[in-house]
């Protein structure tokens, strides 16, 4: 039977879920003109949950008969999800008002989705993986279509939903085969069964392949990325920003844990597949981004490429030393990527007028001159995307590439470097528009998006001076990962 202790270990999730339900109720009594309170309430919930997560930082344990575990990996990611959620609330506040879509469900659904992500990072059972995947996805289907009846938003939601349901059916099928192979859904049971030689190897391999497809869909790697550009473009921008960072991080959380714990022995075979996914994502994402003139689509393709970068470090995961390094690098890169991506999206949201499907690159013309702070934030984000020194993006790529080199993935690193070079073309083109083309961009009313942009840019810059402590923190956090 579950004990109080079980609930204590997932206190951040519990708090968040209860809070989301309360907001759902309270929101009924908040008039449409005062939706400000809902936003503040949800932000408070996120902060309290983050406080609980901080308090649990460094503790380990498992709860609910091994359904979930708490370790450094899940704690760090939980905090990342919660902070992303805060950013999504801040970005949404003015943006929803501008688009006359100030409905309280937005915040409730966002909180549910974050809870799903947090559970996904600490899932220790395939049932839990599936449940949390759905808990994070279903609210996002609705949020993607939040600007209903706008056509683009509806289309984004429908595509995301149909493909998401399709991919989760495939993931579930994979889980079924693994269950058939081992007779267990909990990780320790599966591991014991594999180690004991009782597992059917063929069924296990089929299951692993299908799981990879399911996770690959969530993180958006080629060729499972097809939904990414359309959904990001059609969804409300604040949701696009949130999905770029948080959904991807959640997908990686599950992918890293499941493969490291369940399939270390299959690493030599899986490495080839991961290699192909990573290389194809880097090449495809970075190339097609060149042809984009819509900022949201461009960022979507950039996110595909970035998923490829993170996957690169994970290719040689069979070696325990490299795996350790790969997970630390991935966590570090996710942090750098979160700052960079939110910075770029926030600049765009600050400028995005109502009823728009995202800015075109030309719309940034004159930004650097008219709004130096916002221009600087955009510049820093773009430089960080490229991986120029004095930004977190540089160190993120540095650690990923270093891990890949340590795992002797030289060809992959070369592809990564070359595609980074290609990516400089489209990132710098945005900078070119912002600084060298005349134009009159207009900041929309409300300053929360600008605040997020500047904070992210400052974070990118300042943290780049202390990469080693940050990386060591990540490395230390995953030491206890089970």
């Amino acid at each position: 039977m579950p004990t109080v202790n079980d609930f204590l270990l997932i206190l951040p999730e519990v708090v968040l879920l209860i809070w989301a339900l309360l907001i759902l109720l309270i929101d009924l009594w908040i008039p449409d003109t005062k939706k400000y309170y809902t936003a503040v309430l949800s932000a408070a919930g996120l902060v309290i949950s983050a406080g609980c997560a901080f308090a649990l930082l460094g503790r380990t344990g498992s709860a609910f008969s091994n359904m979930v575990v708490l370790d450094g990996f899940s704690s760090v990611l939980s905090i990342l999800f919660l902070l992303s959620g805060l950013a999504a609330v801040a970005l949404a506040y003015d943006y929803l008002k501008r688009n006359a879509a100030q409905r309280g469900e937005y915040y409730t659904l966002l909180l549910f989705s974050i809870a799903g992500m947090m559970l996904m990072a600490s899932a220790n059972d395939l049932i839990m993986v599936f449940l949390s995947l759905e808990l994070l996805s279903i609210p996002l289907y609705i949020l993607a279509g939040f600007f209903r009846p706008r056509l683009a938003s509806e289309e984004a939601a429908l595509k995301y939903f149909l493909l998401g349901a399709f991919s989760s059916a495939i993931l579930l099928f994979g889980i079924a085969w693994i269950y058939g192979s081992t007779g267990h859904t909990d990780f320790p049971g599966i591991v014991a069964s594999i180690d004991g030689g009782r597992a059917n190897y063929l069924l296990l391999l089929i299951g692993a392949g299908l799981l990879l497809v399911g996770f690959g869909f969530k993180i958006g790697v080629f060729p499972f990325h097809m939904w990414v550009p359309d959904t990001y473009q059609g969804s409300p921008s604040s949701i696009g920003a949130f999905m770029t960072v948080a959904t991807k991080a959640a997908g990686f959380a599950a992918l890293l844990r499941v493969f490291l714990v369940l399939f270390p022995a299959e690493a030599p075979i899986m490495a080839g597949i991961l290699w192909g996914l990573s290389a194809a994502s880097m090449i495809f994402g970075n190339t097609v981004a060149i042809a984009q003139m819509n900022m949201k689509r461009l960022l979507a393709y950039s996110s595909i490429a970035n998923a490829g970068y993170i996957l690169m470090a994970f290719v040689p995961y069979g070696n325990p030393v490299i795996a350790q390094e790969a997970v630390s690098s991935a966590l570090f890169y996710l942090l750098a990527y979160a700052l960079t991506s939110f910075g770029a999206w926030a600049v765009m949201i600050a400028l995005e007028p109502a009823e728009s499907d995202g800015l075109l690159l030309q719309d940034f013309s004159g930004l650097g001159r008219k709004y130096p702070w916002l221009g600087a934030a955009l510049l820093i984000s773009m430089l960080s995307f490229i991986g120029v020194p004095l930004t977190m993006g540089f160190w993120g790529k540095f650690y990923l590439f270093k891990t890949a080199v340590d795992g002797s993935q030289i060809p992959l690193v070369l592809i990564g470097l070359l595609t980074s070079l290609v990516s400089a073309y489209y990132y710098l083109r945005i900078v070119m528009f912002a600084y060298f083309k005349p134009g009159e961009p207009q900041i929309q009313p409300g300053r929360w998006a600008s605040v997020v942009a500047v904070i992210c840019a400052a974070g990118i810059f300042v943290l780049s001076f202390i990469p080693t402590p940050v990386f060591q923190f990540a490395a230390q956090m995953i030491m206890g990962m089970k």
């Binding site: 429908l158 595509k159 149909l162 493909l163 399709f166 991919s167 495939i170 391999l205 089929i206 392949g209 299908l210 990879l212 497809v213 690959g216 869909f217 060729p223 499972f224 097809m226 939904w227 550009p229 359309d230 075979i269 080839g272 597949i273 192909g276 495809f284 190339t287 097609v288 981004a289 060149i290 042809a291 290609v422 073309y425 001076f465 202390i466 080693t468 402590p469």
Partner: protein
């Protein structure tokens, strides 16, 4: 007892604040200066510099009780493989001396600039650059503090490049002004490029150092120096000589001095702070800091001595023939830096740093007073009366041309008196600061070798002569232009720092007064016992006589120069071609242009058209358009239909499983 407890070790940990204060100033002015008035902007910048000075004073007090100093590590910086470098600050007597000079003189010049730039931005017609100036100025203090407080060569190099950047930005402060609207930009570019040559030298020295010592940290390097010197002396020689190239660039020594005279294009406070008092002495500091290396390689030491001595004489000959008030001071700076470099080369570190300090006082004073003269000649009054805030159409008389001045003694009495102090100190007249410091260098030179001594003595004679000439042309005789006629003393904000600096100029000699030798005892903790420039009464007598002779000669020659504008310089009557040569700076710029710049440009032209634009651009553009074409064609994969998206997903599954089957 109680004091020593307060100012013991804890004070050392304050040292990062010498950098944080200017940083805070920069940030505050970056954020707020648009909304602030000029006064608030200037106050912030002055307080930032002053904060650094207060910290430096505290460090000095702490050092009096713990002369061994300390190293304060702020952050880990680079930690890859065998390269381990921290952001670490070194507190010892040498670095604190430099900090005091930089922040002390720097603060005074900040205050002066608060007044000077008020007029300067209006004369040049862009008041919005006022805050930009102070941001650059604070940035300079920051970089210079990094340079002198570094505990390793790489951090020093960061400061070294930082001050170079500030120098570039401030020389080109009025980048759209000057002859043809491009002269100032050209001057900035020249300074940057020439310095780059020196910096490459320093960088090579650092590479050699890391290669051979495996470290860039001062103590580690110095500790291993003797064994490396014993094993491979050539390496140490190469290292010190490459470092010397860096010194020649930054401290404007032969053959890389050419940028400094042009650098006078910057506003006068810049010339005073960066191009006279502090940045250009970085080279002297570097040699003093690396004295362990130099003392192991006598050949390098000899090179340093001769480089300094020849620069001192060479620059002095050019200074004699210049008519621009700031150019004279610029060549004088080069010459005096030559004295310092020669001194540290001889191993007379105390003498070199003593002269560095006193020179910072009196040369800053001279430049600032010259700035006061220039403002006087600019007829600032009209500016005040019409109260034009945006633009000011001033007369097209060159306010820096000494042949148009004259008689300013009565028009600008305070400026005259402080200028006289500075000039006499520079000429080396007892008992002003310059006398003692220069005398120590000469005394050391007399022990080093007769030839060096004579060269430096000749330079000292010329120094006294050109300062006499300048005094006479600017302040005595009759006004030779309308502007000189209308000149007027400046406001208190400008004059006050002059008076303070004049006081330092008079009293500066006490720092290392013969008999007490306070500075020497102070620096010994860091530099060890060098060649002690003991007070030598004979050398002192000779140098005093030489200085007075120089001044008197100038008086004889120029008192007859009654002051018609078009009249030839009397020296031109006497020496003819030699004088013309000196006035044209011995055609060194032209020489460099002919043998280096022109051939390089020719080669570039050759390479640019067929090779770069044809071949390389072709390849680059080709790849670019190829990638773009690929991008366009791959876009069609995303055709918008859910069905094909699902099909792609299925295709991925098929690929994965066929790979699994093949394996």
């Amino acid at each position: 007892m109680f004091l020593s407890e307060i100012f013991s070790d804890p004070a050392f940990s304050l040292v990062p604040w010498v950098v944080f204060f200017p940083l805070a100033g920069i940030i505050l002015n970056l954020i707020f200066s648009r909304r602030w008035e000029e006064k608030l902007t200037a106050l912030t910048a002055c307080l930032a510099a002053g904060g650094s000075f207060v910290i430096s004073l505290l460090l000095m007090l702490a050092l009096t009780h713990h002369p061994e100093g300390a190293t304060i590590t702020l952050l880990e910086w680079i930690n890859t493989g065998s390269l381990q470098i921290n952001w670490a600050f070194r507190v010892d007597t040498l670095s604190v001396t430099m900090m005091l000079v930089v922040s002390g003189v720097g603060t005074l010049i900040h205050i002066y600039a608060a007044g000077y730039m008020h007029y300067d931005v209006r004369i040049n017609g862009d008041p919005s650059r006022y805050s930009r100036f102070f941001i650059f100025f604070n940035l300079f203090i920051l970089a210079m503090m990094l340079l002198v407080s570094a505990d390793n060569y790489l951090m020093l190099f960061v400061g070294w490049e930082g001050v170079g950047l500030c120098s570039y930005l401030l020389i080109g402060f009025w980048f759209e002004k000057g002859a043809d609207g491009i002269a100032n930009a050209r001057a900035a570019k020249k300074a940057f490029l020439v310095n780059r040559i020196g910096d490459v030298g320093l960088l090579i020295a650092l590479f050699l150092m890391f290669w051979n010592f495996g470290s860039l940290q001062f103590d580690t390097v110095f500790a291993r120096a003797p064994e490396v010197a014993a094993a491979t002396p050539a390496v140490l020689l190469a290292m010190t000589l490459f470092m010397l190239l860096g010194v020649a660039g930054k401290s404007a020594q032969l053959p890389l001095y050419v940028w400094l005279p042009d650098a006078m294009a910057g506003p006068t406070p810049v010339s005073a702070l960066i191009h006279a008092a502090t940045m250009v002495t970085a080279g002297v500091y570097l040699v003093a800091r690396s004295h362990t290396l130099y003392s192991l390689v006598p050949a390098a030491q000899t090179t340093v001595v001769w480089l300094g001595a020849l620069t001192a004489l060479f620059a002095a000959t050019i200074a004699v023939a210049q008519n621009d008030i700031k150019k004279v001071l610029a060549y004088s700076t080069i010459s005096q830096l030559g004295f310092m470099v020669a001194a540290v080369g001889m191993g007379a570190f105390t003498a070199g740093l003593f002269h560095l300090t006193t020179h910072a006082f009196f040369k800053a004073l001279l430049f600032l007073a010259a700035g006061s003269v220039i403002l006087g000649m600019e007829d600032v009054r009209k500016l005040d009366e019409t109260n034009l805030s945006d633009s000011f159409h001033h007369s097209h008389v060159d306010p820096q041309d000494m042949t148009l001045m004259g008689g300013l003694r009565r028009k600008m009495p305070v400026t005259f008196w402080v200028y006289l102090m500075g000039a006499l100190a520079l000429a080396g007249i007892a008992p002003l600061a310059g006398f003692f410091s220069k005398d120590e260098i000469l005394a050391a030179a007399s022990q080093n070798g007769l030839l060096v001594f004579l060269v430096l003595l000749a330079a000292a004679f010329l120094t006294a002569f050109y300062m006499g000439r300048q005094l006479w042309l600017v302040f005595f005789g009759k006004p030779r232009s309308e502007n000189a006629e209308n000149a007027r003393e400046n406001t208190a904000l400008i004059v006050l720092p002059l008076i303070l600096l004049a006081g330092l100029t008079v009293l500066g000699g006490l720092l290392n007064f013969p008999g007490s030798l306070a500075l020497e005892g102070w620096l010994e903790h860091t530099l060890g016992k060098g060649i002690n420039g003991e007070f030598n009464s004979m050398v002192a007598g000779i140098s005093l006589i030489v200085s007075i002779t120089g001044l008197v000669t100038a008086w004889f020659v120029y008192s007859r120069y009654s002051g018609e504008i078009k009249k030839l310089d009397p020296l031109e009557d006497m020496f003819g071609a030699v004088f013309i040569g000196a006035r044209n700076k011995w055609y060194v710029d032209e020489l460099y242009h002919a043998i280096i710049v022109r051939p390089l440009e020719g080669l570039s032209q050759q390479l640019a058209q067929p090779v770069d634009q044809g071949l390389i651009d072709g390849i680059a553009v080709g790849f670019g358009s190829l990638t773009k074409a690929i991008a366009q064609s791959w876009r069609s994969i995303e055709n918008g239909f859910v069905r094909s998206y699902a099909l792609a997903l299925l295709l991925g599954i098929v690929l994965i499983f066929s790979y699994l089957v093949i394996r």
